[in-house]
Amino acid sequence: MFKNPFDYRNRLSRGCPCGQHESQTAHDAELRAHAVETAANVEKTYENLVAQAVLRQIFPVDAHRRAFLQCLGGSTAAAAIASVFPLATATEVFAQSGALEKKDLKVGFIPITCATPIIMAAPLGFYSKHGLNVEVNKAAGWAVIRDKTINKEYDAAHMLSPMPLAITMGVGANAIPYTMPAVENINGQAITLAMKHKDKRDPKQWKGFKLAVPFDYSMHNYLLRYYLAENGIDPDTDVQIRAVPPPEMVANLRAENIDGFLAPDPVNQRAVYDGVGFIHMLSKQIWDRHPCCGFAASQEFVKQNPNTYAALLKAIIDATAYATKPENRKEIAEAIAPANYLNQPVTVVEQVLTGTFADGLGNVIKAADRIDFDPFPYESFAVWILSQMKRWGQIKGDVDYQKIAKQVYLATDTTKFMKEAGLTPPASTTKSFSIMGKTFDPTKPDDYIASFAIKRT
């Protein structure tokens, strides 16, 4: 992997972020070559998919098809069929089911690893493969990303998965119908505490702590509150929870303004990297495979640009599928760490994505599923989030959980596009899950809320 430094023929230069290439250009060239390769693979999937459909039409009985192929040979058969049926054109038509209404798009993101699929789709060429010219723009905070998407400066954006629900209902913003057709990441968050609290590992000792979460309408807020409440700490009276933008968290932790936070990565790992804090627990220990951030667009955008929206969503689904493979994680870390995207040291991003990380207390921990990527927006996720919004008094009165969940989390669209991309979507759009040993039944959210001792209803 690294060149022999004692060989006079080798030039040792640190021209690129990963250190394996002589210059940034060489680094980029290899990334591009790789992207083309993956693009070609997906093309192949579409080609096979279309060819399959055509062959099935010509030979309704599979034995006939096999006999035909046997006597002609696969490639001759393909050529023979191609002479009467334009396979290539059909593939293209399939991959791009209609003319794109808009090719130049702006997509906003917050520089955290949750945004990995959205960010990496740019340097690794997933957007361009679907005929889109996407500029990914870094935004300064969740409120800004919300306002810029509402103002249509961004066509689509990276949002915390409760945000589209909150915007749709008009909680903390004007009510605008919003959609979230894909979850980006599952897991990938952690509770980090300041070094001085390294002996206080039991949350019951946390009374009086000042804790930070990235936003009021975030999974982080709901998970932290859930975790504290399960441990008998009232999140509103026993501790103070504030919303602090992720970039400011490490600085605040160092300045001892806060005692800890439940934050997205790479913030947690960065606190460890700088020796400011330690990772108390990963969010997957609270709820394994919980959703975190999502890919959101206004309903207006989806309705006005159905083909662009489809292409964009397919690009995100492809990127997510690529990101979920452990063998690709190192490459992704290198692609998204530079200043244009996350602006973090490569080793920090790599520790988050590969799951082999320093915990800040001297241990190297291996948790391959520290973060994972699964685009499917289960409607039951939305129902759980709504139940927590109600539990903590962010929304009042009766809530039509299922209707809002269906309207915002476009699980049916995701199912369709996942199938088209050759992936297997789950059979049902809802699922039951358990959080800290307590099972959540998505059909009875109100009973669920009532079952908690600490709540604000």
């Binding site: 723009n137 990297y273 200043a339 001297g362």
Partner: protein
């Protein structure tokens, strides 16, 4: 005598500078305590944790980084990573646009207020109320109503640099000497001509003082505004480097912001000298 004073002052400046750098160097030099750690673990940690290096950069780190920026100030690696020169150009462009708009509005309005005691009394409460509002307080309102972050940033510059200019213009115009106005009246000079040939030259030094205060404020505001809206500009650069906890780059931006602010101020000071007159 005066050249002697200048010389002594610059020697003193230099000494202060050297002392400052030396103090800075010594303060950031010391190595903190380091716990022994497993090499496997150490590889995953940053320099502050493994070598006890101070998180605050020393003057030489900053100098090296400045050199790096100077070598390549105009690089462009995508929408979120541009060279320091490009970022500065964006910021100066925004400031100039907002500031020029403010000049176009503030000076005529200031004239009207200064020439008419009635308008002065009537508008005074509004100006006094709007003047002390922080630029960042305008930002959410601007984003919400204008619905465009680039225009919002310019609007915030505009609204914040408006008041000092308006107040100074009004003051300068109303403080024009009675004798001069009376002379103009005896010569039966028409109002428009009176405004341009008598009042404007007389009030020019005060107006320029207002403009100088305003450009300072505009430059202060742009950094905050860009930190909020993101995208491009020196304020965004500070924010982006803060994300990376890169104190070196934050210090460099502070230096650059100071330098550009000083240059803008000096430019207006020079113009002000052109229009001053001995009484």
């Amino acid at each position: 005598m005066s050249s002697n004073l200048t010389l002594r002052a610059s020697v003193l400046s230099f000494v202060i500078f050297v002392l400052f750098i030396a103090a800075w160097h010594i303060a950031t030099r010391q190595i903190g305590s380091v716990a022994t750690m497993d090499p496997e673990y150490a590889k995953l940690m940053g320099l502050t944790a493994t070598t006890g290096k101070s998180a605050m950069p020393g003057p030489f780190d900053v100098a090296a980084k400045i050199w790096e920026h100077l070598k390549n100030p105009f690089y462009d690696r995508g929408p979120n990573d541009k060279g320091l020169g490009i970022q500065l150009a964006y910021s100066i462009g925004r400031v100039m646009l907002g500031y020029c708009l403010a000049v176009c509005v503030a000076i005529p309005t200031g004239f009207v207020i200064g020439m008419s005691p009635l308008m002065n009394k009537a508008l005074n409460p509004f100006i006094q109320l709007l003047k002390p509002i922080s630029p960042l307080a305008w930002m959410p309102l601007a984003l919400y109503t204008i619905k465009d972050s680039a225009v919002s940033a310019i609007f915030v510059i505009f609204i914040c640099s408006l008041w000092p200019m308006m107040i100074n213009t009004a003051f300068g115009v109303s403080a024009v000497r009675k004798e001069w106005l009376n002379v103009a009246r005896t010569l039966e000079v028409r109002p428009l001509r009176k405004a341009f040939t008598v009042i404007l030259p007389a009030a020019a030094p005060t107006i320029l003082t207002g403009m100088r205060i305003s450009i300072g404020i505009a430059w202060l505001v742009i950094v905050a505004a860009e930190m909020l809206v993101g995208g491009t500009g020196i304020g965004y650069f500070v924010w982006n480097e803060w994300n990376n906890l890169s104190i070196v780059n934050v210090i460099i931006s502070i230096l650059v912001i100071g330098l550009v602010g000083m240059l803008l101020d000096q430019a207006l000071a020079r113009v002000a000298r052109l229009v001053t007159y001995p009484d």
